[in-house]
Symmetry: C2
Subunit: 729 residues, 2 copies
């Protein structure tokens, strides 16, 4: 299989690509040099293949967000919404940093980031496809294939993490056609150096989320610290600023309409190469189902927290997440309504099939690729109603904690290397942190009401799909009064449990199998009762996943060969690994007779101001805008101070906080959102309307300089402040 792959890849090189679509691996950039040059890149593309060189050495991950070094002393710039947890964590009733913002006038003033905050510096990437596939027995079935690959990955990670301070992962590409090992330095002393108030950094809030025109100054600044020896260390006063080999230069003059931009970061997940049937399932089943479930959950939370302020605060984060998901999923369906994505996929599959059938060699290799893939997907879909109901049950805070603790105890009976991924020693801090965080996000009444509804939904699945252990526990024996049975059992469980506070839940992690099996806590007992079922279902799922790990690469191999024959260069779907996307500053036409310009201006901030959250622009900001006091940050071309801009680069969740670079690799903005029309870009990139939204570096600098007088930070970033020292704060 590998031989074939290599020959395909050779064919792929040096072909034209669209300037906008594509989340490229850094090592692909030299191969698409012509397209980069055509778009306007003014530095050798080969520079980007050197992960420890300039500028790639400056690019970091925060785990879930992207960021970049902007000073030799470890200043890291990212989005305000990526630092939100830290800003919230450091807020007190006396000094609410979300409201007031924060400026460290010197490093001593910097604030420790929230527990678990990390800066990951990518040190090396290596192709480990051969090592991994060599471990798969020739005639392996799905289960064996899955296990062999998982074991190979664990082994590679363990070897990589032998170096202290390193965190490693194996990522699969094209559904398992390729595997790469990522070796990252894990910096765990992270501090907050600067944050604008939410009235700048989150201006427009949920209303403007996903929307253009946008006026959000979505940026904040961290500093990374390491031990005196230069190696990652737990937070300590003895630690010193991390000195990166490379940091981004600031492009104070920004970019103009039409200019080249590139975004470097860690996009989370896309599904660009899925089958038409998979897109169709997302449109007709997954998103509608999720919308319904989110709406149901929001209704339940609203009902159960009514009049209880503390419970409302506990669930504020979840509510915000559900609303965001709801808006996203609804926008997704709205986008698909006009995109003809399924039709285009179907047409492509017909062409692909014809191309395969036209050659006996191709027919022999790939003739059955699509049908094999479809048959596995059909098997997964057969249980989707049940699986969706069960996932809601498993998601319950108490049950998920006891299930995880019991699983951990069972895995702990094995040597560390043989434990399931996610339950090894390296995973313990994250499991613990998750339970710690849940201390502030739990309310028994809400937790119970959500579980009750999940059980009611489960109770609607047909007899052949049922989980006997669950039916037995809740008395779902098909008799009447199911709802009462569920409610009664749940009520007793929540009355009897000792796990209402997170200390109790954390303590579970220290118990061994015997201790847990002897527990009388109803949620522990339920977890123990359900364990064999979950394990059995996991095995079935993994066997299918193992088959997918053979079928998907085969399909992708065919698709890659086909696309290459058509002259197209191919990038892999996003999978949380380091990517580069490039394009140009460009507006779009969202609908007939409407044109969106690529830049918003400070005057637009003032025009939206109502004095009420989320349009509560601070008065000093409004005064400075009224005076048009923009100094050198004003753009002649835009005719004002640019606040945000649009480009046609290709990004998704995980890219938040990514550096936006100009043609010379200078920082000219921060990627922080996509537009409404880009929501379906996880599945389908629409050249005409898919746009990314960036905070303009000129607005960021102006806010730091004119509004906050953050002179020390500006100087450290190589910017000479332009306004008098008098901060307006």
């Amino acid at each position: 299989m590998r031989g074939l792959l290599t020959s395909c890849l050779v064919l792929m090189l040096a072909v034209p690509v669209f300037a906008d679509e594509g989340m490229w691996l850094p090592n692909q950039l030299p191969m698409i040099g012509q397209a980069l040059e055509a778009a306007g890149l003014d530095t050798p593309p080969a520079n980007f293949a050197d992960l420890t060189g300039d500028p790639m050495g400056a690019i970091v991950s925060l785990g879930g967000c992207s960021a970049s070094f902007v000073s030799p002393q470890g200043l890291v710039v990212t989005n305000h919404h990526c630092a939100y947890g830290t800003i919230q964590f450091n807020s007190t009733p006396e000094n609410n940093l979300l409201e007031n913002g924060f400026v460290a006038r010197s490093p001593e003033d910097e604030l420790q980031a929230a527990p678990g905050a990390r800066v990951y510096v990518t040190l090396a990437v290596s192709d480990v496809t051969d090592e991994i596939l060599a471990k798969v027995p020739d005639e392996a079935d799905g289960a064996a294939r899955f296990e062999a690959i998982e074991n190979a990955e664990k082994e590679l990670i363990a070897g990589c993490e032998e170096t202290p301070g390193h965190r490693c992962r194996v990522a699969s590409f094209h559904g398992g056609l390729q595997f790469r090992l990522y070796d990252q330095l894990e910096i765990c002393d992270v501090r907050l150096a600067y944050a604008p108030p939410s009235s700048i950094g989150k201006y427009g809030g949920d209303i403007d989320n996903w929307m253009w025109p946008r006026h959000t100054g979505d940026f904040s600044i961290y500093r990374a610290y390491v031990g005196p020896d230069g190696l990652p260390a737990e937070p300590s006063p003895d630690n010193v600023p991390f000195q990166p080999k490379h940091w981004l230069k600031i492009g104070r003059d920004g970019v103009d309409e039409g200019d080249f931009v590139m975004v470097v970061g860690f996009p989370g997940r896309t599904n660009r190469y899925r089958l038409a049937s998979e897109v169709d399932e997302a449109i007709t089943w997954s998103y509608p189902r999720r919308i319904k479930r989110y709406q149901e959950m929001l209704d339940i939370i609203a009902r159960e927290t009514e009049g209880r302020t503390e419970a409302q605060i506990a669930y504020a984060g979840l509510i915000s997440g559900l609303n965001n998901g709801l808006k996203n999923n609804q926008g997704m369906l709205a986008g698909f309504a006009h995109s003809k994505s399924v039709e285009r996929k179907q047409a492509m599959e017909v062409e692909l099939a014809a191309w395969i059938a036209a050659d006996p060699d191709r027919e022999a290799r790939w003739g059955a690729a699509v049908s094999e893939l479809e048959s596995i997907l059909d098997k997964q879909r057969a249980h989707r109603e049940r699986d969706e109901a069960l996932s809601s049950i498993k998601w319950n805070q108490l049950l998920s904690t006891t299930s995880r603790a019991y699983r951990l105890a069972r895995e702990n009976e094995k040597p560390n290397a043989e434990r399931k991924m996610g339950y090894q020693e390296r995973d313990l801090p994250r499991i613990r942190a998750r339970i710690e965080r849940s201390a502030r996000t739990y309310d028994a009444r809400v937790d119970m009401a959500l579980l009750r509804r999940a059980l009611e939904r489960y109770d609607e699945v047909p007899a052949s799909e049922r989980v006997p252990a669950l039916d037995n526990w809740f008395g779902l024996d098909g008799e009447l009064e199911t709802a009462e049975a569920i409610a009664g059992t749940l009520h007793n469980m929540y009355m009897a449990t000792d796990l209402a506070d997170s200390a109790g839940r954390l303590a579970l992690l220290d118990l061994d199998r015997a201790a847990l099996e002897a527990s009388e806590d109803p949620f522990v007992r339920l977890a123990v009762a359900l364990y064999p079922t979950w394990i059995e279902m996991e095995k079935v799922e993994e066997a299918l996943d193992g088959r997918l790990l053979e079928a998907r690469p085969r399909f992708m191999e065919a698709l890659l060969a086909f696309e290459t024959a058509l002259g197209a260069e191919i990038y892999p779907d996003a999978n949380g690994t380091l990517r580069v996307t490039f394009g140009n500053v460009i507006g779009y036409t969202p609908q007939d007779a409407v044109v969106y310009l690529p830049f918003t201006t400070a005057e637009g901030v003032a025009a939206k101001a109502t004095g009420e959250v989320p349009f509560d622009a601070p008065q000093p900001l409004l005064d400075a805008i009224a005076a048009a006091d923009y100094g050198p940050y004003r753009s002649e071309a835009v005719g004002s101070l640019p606040v945000c801009f649009l480009s046609d680069v290709d990004t998704t969740g995980g890219n938040s906080g990514s550096a936006t670079l100009d043609s010379k690799g200078r920082l000219v903005g921060l990627l922080f959102d996509g537009n409404w029309e880009s929501m379906i870009s996880d599945w389908d990139f629409l050249t005409d309307v898919t746009r990314s939204i960036h905070a303009d570096v000129r607005y960021m600098l102006w806010v730091m300089d004119r509004i906050d007088g953050a002179e020390n930070l500006l100087r450290e970033m190589g910017i000479k402040p332009s306004f008098a020292a008098g901060s307006e704060r």
Copy 2:
């Protein structure tokens, strides 16, 4: 006073004006010829001063809407929404013309318009200021002034209407500074010749109402009929098409961005010359109060009609009107929030005061003008809470009918000429038509619930403001349980009344005073009981109005002189009389980074199509759009078939259906709406964003030609059809 006025008017001539703002009297056009030429007019402005010439002879009023002749055989083009009542009236369950549209393939197929439909052809306008003011005694107080002017108007109208088939009115300008007599031919046999389906003519419905981008084909075609003698006649098969002296030529090639356009029609009402305090009152009191009341009414109607389909249908029109008013009033407040209208008015008043004070002559004439006006306005405002509550009570369908009938009976005791305006013989058909129409819009439960709420609101006015007759009737004696007293009385009244059906209500109009006073119907008895109060309040109001009829002209005289001194030409506020406004085809910037282009396209119709009302574009239309089958109606400049366009002409309610003319006076569209930002233009014209919305003549013709095959009508309008005879209907 007249001498002074004349000298002011002389000063006003031949000064530059803005191209966009201004609803000009036709006789003003020669005086602003330079501005018209600068905007691009290509015909002598003097043409427009001849009301029976070309093109003004083609312009007609429908009473509430505007329209124009477009053929020598009396075809009249207006908006679909202006012909809506007629289309609805002719619809049957078997053939719903609102859904299907209508094409008369020959005049015999044409359908009689709804009762009361009229076409008014303006024959002459004369300045009657001197005649009217000559009747006002030198030292007349408010009441005497009001009565003298009303009597003078009645006399002029009666004289004018001696010619059969004529309908006349006296309109006051600048608050009573000038009066003009309008003599119109009243054509009362009006028939429907063409209407597109609502899925074209009302496409976008309430959602797109007031909005850009717009895709509504808002047009329909009537034909005017007269007796064989050429004079207006009641509908009859013997009638013949009216042959207007002039009709508009169709400008099939339409207009491009930047082109000159003018709109000729009958704008209803503007308040451009009100004091700052009046604008402030509208913003802080009138609109918020009205929004609250409309919302309250909508809630009551929704509650009381729940589950009762017939009642829902009966109130559909009112609901639509209330929603439209709500959207309008909310948009008004949103517009005022950023317009700084009050501040600019205040600044202007300060300047005016300084200009007046700078000259002893001016000071003597106008020094007290503003303060006198303010003092009268204050007197009116003193009772505004009570007046607003009482107006809701008077608005009740049963009580308004019995009150009107009793008032009519009282007025009938006098000779016709001495009766109150609105209760003369010439007014009877309208009073009757109104009651007839109410047959389909009445439901006792809703009517009672709305009256109950109105009474509860009245009950909140302070003791000094109360109406004893009302208090006595409803037992509002200040004791507890007011709500129950009102509910009980109302319940008994609605149980006892015979007026539930419109026949009973119509019969009231034939009863004399004695018969009505002997009636035992509770609503008649209440009307009789309240009559003295209403008359007394009317007298107080008229005395204030009489004082306003002196104070407002004095202020306007000062303002006109001041503006003239500044070099500005002045147009009077809209008052339902014939006006001309001109400007250019131009888009605008609704907010930062957003540009609205001036043309929408057929592709935009398809993009909005959802298959659901109001975006239920017909399939043949969508097919023709998909095929881009636009024939000669395609615009090269727009790159497609234009559907609607924006211009900066100055229009308001009443202008609906107005002809939009190009620089040579050809019909290039129909005015049918203003944009969201134009809502406050009744008070304040904002050059940057106030825009009018027109249906493009090319879309109108294409729909008639390509979709409906209305060859006969097109040929009559001078257009050679471009598509094969096969209609798609």
